[in-house]
Each structure stands twice: as C-alpha cells, then as structure tokens.
C-alpha cells in the first residue's frame, strides 16, 4: 500500500512564469494599442506562448525525474485569503495530471497561435485578437496549474470571458454577438451550480481543517476526503453542473455549436482543444471527491454517453463544415465524460490529449478550406478541393482517420480505452458500451461524409470563388503538418497492454488517481486488505479480460472502417446501398437531426419565450411602465428637477473631493487610534 499523497513539497517558482508569460504578452499587445507592427504583435504573442510551452516542458521533465510517489511541484506566490481559519493561497502546483494538460494547452496553443498569424493576417483586429488569445492561454493555465479550487475557478471564469470575447470577435455581425451572449448565459447557469458546489464543499470542509491548511487546496481536500463523504453526492453533482456548461454536455451543450461564429483558430483552440475540456479536467482533478459518490459517477457516465450519441447523430446531417466539427466536439467531450463517469480518469485525459491533436487539426484544416473558399462554410457548395489544397487534404484525412479510430492513429488508442472501460469500469456495462460503440461508427460516418463533400468530386462553387481557391500560406500549413504527425503518433504513448505495450500514459497518471480510489475504498468501509484483494482481483480480471478486450477492439475497428466506407459510398457515388440508406434515413429522421432535435426551439419555447413574456407583460408593462415609470421616474423627475438645478451647482467634483479628503482624514484618525489605543 502506498501513501495517497506525498507531503514532500518541492518549491518550483518556474510554474508562475508558465502562467504569467502569456499575461505579459497580452499586456504588451493590449496596452500598446495599435502602435505595434503586425510582425511584432505576432512575435510577442507566439513567443509568450512558445516560451510558456518550453517552461512547461522543463517543469514536466523535472517532474518526470522525481520518483513516481513524490511527483509534485508547488509554487506558492502569496497568501490570498487569510481570515481566521479560512486560508487560501495564491499559488500553482504541478503534478502528472496537470503537467499533461499544461503541455497540451501550451503546445497546441502555440501551434494555433502560429496558424493565426496567417489566418488573421488581413483582419483589422489583428492585435486585439492576439491579445485575447494570449489572455485566454493565461486564464487556461491558471485553471490548470491553480493550486486550489478557487484558483481553478478564477481561471474557469477567465477562459469563459475570453471565450465570449472571441466568439463575438467580429461583433459587427449581430449573429456573432448573439452567439457570444448565448455562450455567456448558458455558462452562467453552469457556473451557478459550480459555485454552489464550491460553497458547499468549503462549508463541509472548513470545520475539519488543521492549522495552516489551505481550505480549497487540492492536496488538503484530498487528505480530508473522508469528511467530504456525507456531502459528496451533492457537491459532485453541483460541480458537474458547472462541467456540463463548460464542457458542453446535456443539457447545456447548446452554446458550443453557435460558438463557431468566432474565428476558426478560436474554434480550434478554445472550443475544441482546450477550454471545453476544462470540465473534464476539473472532474479528474476532483476525482477523490467523485469516486466517493457512485451515484454522481453514474450520472456523469450517463450524461456523457447520451451527449456523445445525441451530438453524433446531429453531426451526420449538418451542412456547415464547422457545425459538423462542433457537434463532433460535443460528442467527443461526451466520450471523455463517460470515461470519467466509469472511473477511467486516465482514459478521459488520454482522450483529451489525442482529441486536442486531431480536433485542432480538423478545425484548422476546415479553416484552411474556408480561407480558400473565400469564407464559404457550406459543404454543399464545396467539393473537389483535394487537388487544389493538397496539404490541407492529406492532413485533414489523417485527422479524420484519427477521430474515426483507425489503427494505429491516436484516436484508436484513446477511444478504444474508453470503450473498454465503459464496458469493464466501475458502473460500466453493456449498455454504456453499446452507446459508445454506436457513436464510434457514427463518428466515422459523418467524418467521411464531411471529407467527401468537401474534397471529393467536382467543385460546386461559383466561378468567382473557384478562381480564388489556393493553398494556405506556410504559417497555416506548418501547424497542420505538425498536428497531423501528432494525430498519427500521439496515441502511441498509451499503447495498451493487450497489444503488447504497457500504456505508459496511464502509468504516468496513476499516482494522481490511485489516491482517490484508495480514499473511496477506505470510506466505503473496506479495509486495506479488502482493497488489496480487490486490486488483485481486478488485476487477475484484467489478464483474463485481455482476450475480450482484444476482440472488442477488433470489433470497434471494423465498425469504424464500416462507418467510413458507408460514408464514402453514400456521398460519393450512386449505388444501390446508398440509395437504400438515403431512402430510409431521408425522411423525418433526417429533418429531426438537421434541426438538431429542435432543442434550441424547445428551449426557446420553454424558457426564453416565457421569460420574455414575463419580462414584457409583468416586468415591463406592470412593474416598469406602471410602478417605475409612473411612480418613481415621473415622481422623481419632479424631485430631480428641483434638486438637479441645485446639484448642478455643487461643482460636483468639489463635493466629491470634500468627501474624499474627509474620508482620508477619518482614515488617518482610525489608523492612528487603532495603533495607539
């Protein structure tokens, strides 16, 4: 039995610079408003994130050099709140889990920054864009490296803010502003739950803290996880509400597809690779809490599976290239949630990583396509682009095969791990597995549909657009190539045991998640022996199950290839098979899916319209027009008319200054007497 948490804390002031460098970049670009040439703006922004990546890598290597049990770097910057027993530090910590996240975010973030140099080169808001982008990386790194739940929350709100800013980046178009607003409102609902969870957690934990222990510190919370047990279900579910908002799960997923209104690099960075995985990360970070509540875990798994299925079916019918990818993202996030829900946190994070590679690649590829098509996003007018955009096409194809789970590309390993855990993990079973399996096939199908419609056959655009089709510049294609390579080989570090590997990725994360399982077992009343027995049994089962695992992997691989083939058949050439499929699916199921199950309309009818009605009839006509306008406004207008003429003469600033100097005088008094008295 190993100790759940090692208490040897290694100070590493490198961590704060990982977080602060992007902030510095944002500050330089944001404060020197429009006085910098584009080259300098780009160099600063990319340099900041690049350096941040290098520092993350350094910290990661330092972490890797430590023995597995004591892999923890801490960087306490300052005491944030110190009020009686309530103590919260402002600080950062790095363990194997967030080391992985940090590398993903800074690494993929850097590539997307470079890509944006080309993509945004003609945009008037070039400097503003990179300021936001750097600011986002800062917030995301705060979220990831934050030493406690409050720091995480600060980052959580920060990435949300950047997300809204970037969704409505082109705010001149109303649709974009509305999309930003939608994301904002939906996320507020999630954040409300999240905050309630944080409060409940704090209230539960506070009486049990020892001297000098930070309230929301992850290490301290994990150490005291046993006292959280009675409230674990409530806290976990509340936190999960936050996660459904940020990570676009049922019922709060509706903002993400609309968020594609933002520039495509933003979709790639924030709404595919990094920010939307924050919910998954948070659950993994709080794994010691979630495992205390099998009920909450079950909810997470079911919501994840349902989201995966729902979004995948919608993705099959969308015609906007980015919408397909958006629903695909929602679906893949569902996978990650499913993994968390069955206790396979490592598999969830593994999929976060591979998904970051191939989804960023696919988004950037679609950006390259949109760039070439003069801004056109409708796949029905694309087609035949593969000859004109060879690099984009081949890298895009790599991403497609990766997400479809073709062996040995990255997606195969992570998705297969999730499928297997959905079957064999805690609370897993045939039901969850079947849903996940089905989604895998659907994914392959809609991705192939996208590739065929975009790159295959004849171009269906007008001559004007067709004339302008060109391959993107190097700054855009280079990140594509790098991401394509990662999409191919990135999964190999998780090469599973049943294929003769040792899944080093899971081993790397094991110290983080083992502690949580240990606590859960202890709380559940098992002694150490029972735990050891259980572990041994699981180990034995793993050996026995290897054959089954191999069979299931083969099945899902076949299923994925089948989906790819079907997609190709249906959308590229007229065959009997295709016609039959079309005949069956072309009727009302198609319309339902095309309209995204009418969820937006349902929300509109259930919440938004009644809300408007309420505000229009009750609040506006009665309260506003009657009470406020009639009584307060008109009544006070009279008062104001009288006093306003007086007030205007007060030389406003002067009285304020008097009050100010008065207050300073009082402050001096109070300080003096407090010191002296």
């Amino acid at each position: 039995m190993h100790s759940p948490v090692s208490e040897s804390v290694i100070q590493e002031s490198l961590l704060r610079w990982i977080v602060l460098l992007p902030l510095l970049g944002a500050a330089i670009n944001g404060l020197l408003n429009r006085r910098l040439p584009k080259a300098a703006v780009g160099a600063i922004a990319c340099g900041a994130v690049g350096l941040s990546f290098v520092l993350s890598l350094t910290a990661f290597l330092r972490l890797a050099a430590l023995p597995a049990e004591s892999r923890l770097l801490v960087d306490t910057v300052a005491r944030w709140i110190g009020f009686g027993p309530l103590r919260v530090d402002m600080g950062f910590a790095m363990d194997p889990l967030n080391a992985v996240m940090a590398l993903i975010v800074t690494g993929v973030g850097f590539l997307i920054h470079v890509y944006s140099l080309g993509y945004m080169s003609h945009d008037k808001g070039f400097q503003r864009f990179f300021t936001y982008l750097n600011l986002f990386i800062f917030a995301m790194m705060t979220l990831i490296l934050g030493e406690n739940l409050l720091m995480l929350f600060v980052g959580w709100e920060g990435v949300g803010l950047c997300s809204y800013l970037l969704i409505s980046f082109w705010f001149n178009e109303e649709a974009n502003a509305i999309a930003g607003k939608k994301a904002f409102v939906v996320n507020r609902i999630g954040d409300f739950g999240f905050l309630l969870g944080v409060f409940l957690l704090g209230a539960t934990l506070l009486p049990h803290l020892g001297a000098g222990e930070g309230l929301f510190s992850f290490r301290v919370m994990q150490r005291h996880a046993d006292v959280l047990a009675p409230a674990a279900t409530a806290i976990a579910l509340l936190l999960f509400v936050g996660a459904t908002g940020k990570s676009a799960q049922i019922p709060l997923y509706i903002w993400l597809p609309d968020a594609m209104a933002g520039p495509t690099p933003v979709s790639a960075l924030i709404h595919a690779a990094t920010m939307v995985t924050a919910g998954v990360y948070m659950i993994c970070r709080m794994n010691f809490l979630f495992v205390l509540s099998p009920a909450a875990m079950h909810v997470v798994a079911i919501v994840g599976a349902a989201t995966a299925l729902l979004a995948a079916t919608i993705a099959m019918t969308q015609n906007d290239i980015k919408k397909v990818l958006a629903y695909s993202t929602v679906s893949q996030l569902g996978y990650m949630m499913l993994a968390c829900g069955v206790g396979a946190f490592a598999a969830g994070i593994f999929h976060v990583m591979t998904h970051a590679f191939f989804k960023a690649l696919l988004f950037l590829g679609s950006g390259s396509v949109i760039h070439a098509m003069s801004g056109e996003q409708d796949m029905r007018v694309m087609g035949g682009l593969w000859k004109k955009l060879p690099i984009t096409f081949w890298t895009f194809l790599a991403g497609t095969f990766a997400i479809a789970g073709v062996f040995p590309l990255a997606g195969f390993f992570s998705k297969d791990e999730i499928l297997w855990k959905a079957f064999s993990g805690q609370g897993g079973g045939v039901g969850l597995y079947a849903v996940a399996f089905l989604v895998a096939g659907l994914t392959a199908f809609y991705m192939m549909r996208l590739v065929v419609l975009t790159f295959h056959g004849q171009n269906r655009a007008g001559a004007e657009v067709r004339h302008h089709i060109h391959e993107s510049p190097l700054t855009m294609t280079l990140p594509l190539v790098v991401l394509a390579v990662l999409s191919v080989v990135g999964g190999w570090i998780g090469w599973p045991a049943f294929l003769g590997g040792s899944n080093r990725f899971e081993q790397w994360l094991e110290p983080v998640f083992a502690g949580g399982h240990h606590v859960a077992a202890a709380v559940a009343g098992h002694g150490g022996e029972a735990l050891a027995e259980g572990a041994a049994a699981a180990h034995g089962a793993a050996h026995e199950g290897m054959g089954l695992e191999r069979a299931l992997a083969g099945a899902s691989l076949t299923w994925g290839l089948l989906g790819l083939s079907l997609g190709y058949l249906v959308y590229s050439r007229r065959t009997k098979v295709a016609d039959t499929v079309r005949g069956i699916a072309g009727g009302w199921p198609y319309r339902v899916l095309l309209n995204k199950y009418y969820v937006d309309e349902a929300y509109d009818g259930a919440f938004i319209r009644p809300g408007f009605r309420l505000s229009k009839t009750v609040l506006w006509k009665t309260v506003d027009a009657g009470v406020i306008d009639g009584l307060l406004v008109n009544g006070s207008a009279l008062v104001v008319a009288v006093f306003g003429s007086l007030l205007r003469l007060l030389q406003n600033g002067l009285v304020r200054f008097y009050a100010w100097s008065f207050t300073v005088g009082v402050a001096v008094f109070v300080v003096y007497l407090s010191l002296k008295g």
Binding site: L647, F657, Y658, F662, V666, F669, V670, L673, G677
Partner: protein, 504 residues
C-alpha cells in the same frame, strides 16, 4: 426611566423652562407667521426677540452654581451649559436684528427663518447640556438641520441653495461617522449615558482601544461642526454662499456649540485616554490654525476670508482643548491634571469663544448691513474708501478686524493672551510659539481690510449704503469688544468659576 413621568417633571420644570420656552416659541412664531401673513415680517422678529428674552429670564430665575440632572440624565444643566446658553441666545438676538434689517433691504429669506433660528438655538442648548450620547445626537441634529435650511433658505439665490445643500451633504457624512463612533462607544460602555461611559473607562484598561477608536470617530463629527482640518472643506463654500447674517450665526453660535460638546466630551474621556488623544489633538490644532491662516491670505472675498479665519480660530481654540488635557502636569502613569492649568485653559477657552463671537458677529453684521437687495457686500476691493462714505460702519469693521488679529486693546488680544498663557503654563511652549507665529501671520489679511477702507479712495461701484439698525447693533458689539478688551477680568473670573465646578 421614571424621570420621564409627570411628577418628576415638576421638580425639573424651572431648569427645563429655558428649553421649553425656546421650543414653544419656535412653534409659536411659525403659527403666527401662518396666521398673519403680512409683507413685512417685523412682528416675527419682534416675537423671536421676546422668546429669546424670556428664555434668558427663565434661565436667570432657575439660578446658578448648581448641577441639575434633567430627564433621567439626558441633560445635565451646569454653569458651563448656562454660559453657553447665554452665548447662543446672545448670538441669536443679534442674528435676529441683522436678519430683520436684511429683510427690510430686500433680502429674500423664507419666513421660516425665525422659527428655524429658534430651533437651532434649542438644539445648541440641548447639545451644551447633554449628558447622554442620545441627547448629544439629538441636539446636534436639531441644530444642524435648522442651520442647513438657514444657510440654503434664500429664495431664488443659487449660491445660498448650493451652500445649504453642500452643508447638508457633508453634514450627513459627518453624522454617519459620529453615529458609528457612538455605536462603538455604546458597545464599549454598555450604556449611552456619560456616567456609564465614565464608569466603563474607569473600570480598567480592557477594551480601551475600542473606546479610543469610538471617541476618535465622535471627534470627527464634532470636528466637522467646528471646522477642524481636515473636515473643514465645506466651510468656505458655505460661509460664502449663505447670507451674511446666517454666516455670522454659524461662525459664532454653531462653532461655540461644537466646542461646548467637544470640550465636554474630551473632559469625559481624558482621564483615561489623554495619552492616546493628546498627540492627535496637538497635530490637529497646529494644522488647523496654519491651514486656515495660510489660505486666508489669498482670499479676495471678505466672507471667504472670514471663513478661513474662522478655521484658523478653530485651531487656536483646539489649542485650548489640548491644554485642558495636556499630560504635562500629571504623574506619568496616572492622568492627574493640574487643576490650575485646567482652570486656566478652560476659562481661556470660554473667554475666547465669547470674544470671538463678539468680533465675528460685528464683522458679519457690518457686511450684512452693506449688502442690499440680496447681493452680498463681499468684494474686498469695493470696500475702498468706506471710511469716508460710511464712517461708523467702517469703524466697527475696523475694530472687529483688529480684534480678530489680536491687537490690544481689543478683546481678541485678551482672548489670545489668556489662551497662550494657559498653554505656556502647561509647559507647551513650542505650541504657544506656533500659535503666536500664526496670529502674527493673520495680521496681514485682517489689516488689508483696514488699508482698503481707510487708505484707498472711494471708487465707482463701491459699497456706499449701510443699514442703520444693523450698523448700530454692530456698533454695540464693537463697544463690547473694546470694553472686554480693557476690562476682561470680571468675565474671565466668571469663566474660571465655571471651570472650578468641573471635576478634573
């Protein structure tokens, strides 16, 4: 609480009568104004004068030298409070005269002026005899609310409205701190009566830090009323904007009321908190007198100049308060103040307040007398040659200025003499030197008025019309200034007698 019951009131009636007369008189004047609406308001000013006179008579009838606890300890009438009552009533009488003459000359004050004046006096009287935090606040607010309206009550005059509004805003601000301090002090002492607070302070060191802090916040509230730096910012604007007769009342009666309660309060707290408060008050006194005098040097309006001068005088008066609690004569640990120094400082304080009231009323009386049709005689340049046009008015103003500057044989000199000698006797020689330097500095701007009036030729547009009634009333004041300057001992001894009754 049985003090509130009717039988007990009977015993207290004679001591309460001055309060009741002023309160009832205020209501009566208001009623009379409502019932007999006439163009001229002479009957109102006459009635006000009668009310004030009656209250003086009631005061005289109830006797001196004893301590009367009224209304279950809410009020404690002593010779100290009686002295202030006379001062307030005196100021109010002269203000009534000046106001009446201003109304005759087209001042557009609201008819509520006289009742409000009486209510302000009532508030001051309560304040000067308050022996409970509640009555302190009651008195302070009764006074303040009335004065806010007095300052802003000139119909159609934006400067007056502005003054009233500013005063109200800042006054509310100050009251908030005052209340906060009172709440804290109540929390410390467990009671609002001065006796409770004294007992709690004597009980032991306990939470004395809290008491010091609470006292400090209360000091802020009082400091605002007496125009202590840094709570003085409203003073120039309000003194400038309000009509001269109201400004005169504010500069004298309101300031005296502020110092009355400030002194009472400091004496209540000092045996235990003098060490804490003393350096603070020393600093405030020095800063207040210096700031007041320095800024006064640069003023072109006579009312603004006198406003800054009144801030400077608040500084001198604070010096008296400091001396009252100076630890110089106490044994290091135990705060035992020398009775002699206490008496000297206390009596100097009272004498100074009296003299200061006389000279300020005279000055503002003359300014008011020169004002016409609601336009204030404010520009110093237009006083040029006033000695030839209106010799009496010029002479009265000159005497007031010389007295303010502290030049013998005016009362201002004797005031400063008593005050600084008390300071020196307390061993605070450096403070005395700072005070003297300050008063030398102030000579410049007071004499400037004299130079303009006597050594410059009258010019077109200079002030040349003065109200006879107001000038003659001011002349009486000038006579008193000279009289008290030459024969100060009687009053001074009376002031000493008052402080002899107070236990240090």
């Amino acid at each position: 609480m049985n003090g509130f019951l009717a039988p007990a009131i009977g015993d207290q009636l004679d001591a309460l009568l001055p309060f009741l007369i002023v309160a009832g008189g205020g209501l009566l004047v208001m009623l009379v104004d409502a019932l007999f609406r006439t163009k001229r308001k002479d009957h109102l000013s006459l009635l006000t004068l009668i009310v004030l006179l009656l209250s003086v008579l009631a005061q005289l009838r109830s006797g001196f030298g004893d301590e009367r606890v009224l209304l279950s300890g809410m009020l404690t009438v002593t010779d100290f409070s009686r002295f202030f009552d006379f001062l307030f009533v005196g100021c109010a009488v002269l203000t009534t005269v000046f106001a009446g003459s201003a109304f005759d000359r087209g001042g557009r004050q609201r008819p509520e002026f006289f009742p409000l004046l009486l209510f302000a006096v009532l508030g001051m009287m309560v304040l000067a005899s308050a022996s409970d935090l509640l009555s302190v606040f009651l008195g302070l607010e009764t006074m303040s609310l009335a004065v806010y309206v007095l300052a802003g009550g000139v119909r159609g005059d934006v400067r007056s409205s502005e003054a009233g509004f500013k005063y109200l805003l800042m006054g509310s601000f100050a009251s908030a701190f005052l209340l906060m301090g009172m709440a804290l002090l109540y929390g410390f002492a467990g009671g609002t009566a001065f006796s409770d607070i004294g007992r709690a302070l004597a009980a032991g060191p306990g939470e004395r830090g809290l008491a010091a802090l609470a006292g400090g916040l209360i000091l802020v509230g009082f400091g605002f009323k007496v125009a202590m730096v840094p709570f003085h910012m409203w003073t120039p604007d309000v003194y400038d904007g309000a009509p001269a007769y109201v400004t005169g009342f504010m500069a004298t009666a309101v300031k005296a009321a502020g110092f009355a309660i400030l002194t009472r309060f400091v004496l209540l707290m000092q045996p235990h908190l003098a060490f804490t408060w003393y350096p603070l008050l020393v600093g405030l006194a020095v800063v207040t007198m210096s700031v007041g005098n320095l800024v006064a040097l640069a003023q072109n309006g006579i009312k603004r100049m006198l406003a800054w001068s009144s801030i400077a005088h608040a500084g001198y008066l604070l010096l008296g308060v400091v001396t009252l609690i100076s630890p110089a004569h106490g044994n290091s640990g135990q705060m035992m103040l020398g009775r002699e120094v206490g008496e000297a400082a206390g009596s100097a304080l009272l004498f100074y307040l009296l003299g200061y009231s006389l000279m300020n009323l005279a000055a503002f009386g003359v300014i008011g007398a020169l004002s016409k049709g609601g336009r204030e005689a404010d520009e110093i340049e237009r006083y040029a040659g006033l000695s030839r046009r209106k010799p009496l008015a010029a002479a009265v103003l000159a005497i007031a200025m010389l007295s303010l500057a502290g030049i013998p044989p005016m009362v201002g000199f004797m005031s400063k003499f008593y005050l600084f000698s008390a300071v020196v006797r307390a061993g605070l020689v450096p403070l005395a030197i700072i005070g003297v330097i300050n008063s030398l500095l102030s000579v410049y701007y007071y004499l400037r008025i004299l130079v303009v009036m006597y050594m410059k030729k009258p010019e077109e547009g200079g002030y040349d019309d003065a109200d006879t009634v107001a000038v003659s009333a001011a002349a009486v004041l000038a006579g008193l200034i000279l009289l008290l300057g030459v024969m100060p001992e009687g009053v001074h001894r009376a002031a000493q007698e008052i402080f002899r009754q107070i236990t240090f």
